[in-house]
């Protein structure tokens, strides 16, 4: 996948039961590149690709690191925190 789609890929891997799915990430975009530009983009990840196909899954999981995808956190459209800034609720 390209690096613009990692959050979606991690979400889908987890939600469909493959949280440790091996993934190889390249810089976005790939679509629209000239053929001569594709090779240089791929060379750096060839070893990652080979590792993904051959390494022990436990090692791949360790390398994957934290794949937690945060929820939707839009920025507050405020110049400064106002009187309603602290809205943290308490769980019942």
């Amino acid at each position: 996948m390209t690096d613009s789609f990692t959050a979606l890929a991690h979400t889908l891997a987890k939600s469909t039961g493959y949280p440790d799915l091996a993934m190889v990430v390249v810089k976005h975009p790939i679509g629209g590149l000239k053929k001569t530009d594709v090779g240089p983009r791929m060379v750096p990840v060839v070893q990652e690709l080979l590792d993904a196909l051959t390494l022990d899954p436990a090692e791949l999981l360790r390398r994957a690191g934290d794949r937690t995808v945060g929820g939707f956190r839009p920025p507050r459209p405020r110049l400064a925190a106002g009187p309603n800034a602290n809205t943290g609720g308490s769980n019942e």
Partner: protein, 362 residues
């Protein structure tokens, strides 16, 4: 129908603080919400004969379970009146049908949003606008049912803009997209009757669509003249349907529909005309796209030298013909995501009995 069992959070009574909380939690489309108090959620469930914990399915991309209760919470947040809830629930059922491809609709870079179309007496009972200005603003049912669908897709499905909803531009249609057909002014039968339902049945149809594109023709005096304009507007090389073949909508205004029908044209002839004439010349596709489209739509792009032009759909029946809107010489072309199929579902009791009024669910 059972009690509210969802997790609860205690907030202040201040509406601004409550809205800031939901916004900060990412449980928002950016507009103020109606706080989903247990009382309001319970009221929403009054127009539902199902158990609150019943799960309709798992909603992509997060594949969280879409329970009746969770739908009700989002319907409250959207501002729905309780009697709107049967439409929301039926729309979700339709979107979860495999052929709708909700994962693709949610995650694509395209600007698709589910368009909810309500037919039958329940559309009239709930005052869902199918006439002038049907796409908004102004009608509570259109605005809040459509918004409930979006909040459900965000909060339950987990399609977060820029992160797991990869739409390049997003769309105003992603805020709210719900209409009725103008059954009172169609010269043909209504859409749900075309699909085998009785006029007194009520249905919800979902299509993964772009925003409407206007078709202006103030001059046409015949079906043939008007359809030339329609076909020209529809046939564009940058449209998803041209290589993914969804069910693009041609939405005739009542005046335009009358122009066509008064010359003896029925919907079948309209669809056939569009299939034959709403075509993009092969010369308008660049070489790279022809190569790319080949494996996706081989019927036309695998051997491009054998085709002078490409229709939007593989069969005339692929077009979705509707009549809606108010006075005026405008119609609407609504392209789809392409990799999605329209789904129509009747509004029923939990046992599958078709209803004629939402009061039958109380």
């Amino acid at each position: 129908m059972s009690d509210v069992t969802a997790d609860r959070v205690r907030l202040t009574d201040d509406i601004v603080s409550v809205n800031d909380y939901f916004y900060d939690q990412g449980l928002s489309d950016g507009l103020p919400i109606v706080p989903p108090t247990p009382e309001r959620v319970l009221a929403m469930l009054q127009f539902c004969d199902r158990d609150a914990d019943e799960v309709l399915g798992s909603m992509p991309p997060g594949y969280t379970e879409a329970s009746v209760q969770r739908l009700a919470v989002n319907a409250v947040m959207a501002g729905c009146q309780p009697e709107f809830f049967p439409v929301v629930l039926t729309a979700v059922e339709a979107m979860l049908a495999e052929e709708f491809n909700l994962l693709g609709v949610q995650a694509t870079t395209h600007s698709v949003s589910p368009l909810v179309i309500v037919n039958g007496p329940i559309a009239r009972e709930l005052t869902i606008n199918g006439g002038a200005g049907l796409f908004g603003p102004g009608w509570r049912a259109n605005a809040t049912i459509g918004r409930a669908i979006r909040l459900i897709l965000l909060n339950i499905g987990g399609a977060y803009p820029g992160s797991t909803d990869k739409s390049t531009f997003g769309s105003p249609a992603k805020y709210s997209y719900c209409i009725a057909e103008n059954e009172a002014e169609t010269p043909w039968g209504p859409w749900h009757v075309d699909n085998g339902f009785a006029p007194e049945d009520s249905t919800v149809t979902v299509l993964g669509c772009e925003s409407p594109h206007n078709i202006n023709d103030h001059g046409a005096r015949s079906a043939e003249e008007l359809m030339v304009t329609v076909a020209s507007t529809v046939a564009t090389a940058g449209c998803n349907d041209i290589y993914l073949t969804g069910n693009p909508i041609i939405m005739f205004s009542p005046e335009h529909a009358a122009t066509v029908a008064n010359d003896g044209w029925d919907k079948a002839r309209v669809r056939q005309y569009l299939y034959d004439n709403a075509r993009v010349p092969m010369s308008e596709f660049n070489v790279s796209n022809i190569k790319r489209f080949g494996p996706i739509r081989p019927k036309f792009f695998a051997n491009p030298d054998q085709h002078d032009s490409v229709p939007l759909v593989d069969e005339p029946s692929g077009f979705t013909i509707l009549v809606a809107g108010g006075p005026g010489k405008h119609s609407s072309f609504i392209p789809t995501f392409g990799e999605t199929t329209r789904v129509i579902r009747p509004i029923t009791t939990k046992d599958g009995r078709l209803i004629r009024s939402v009061t039958e669910l109380r």
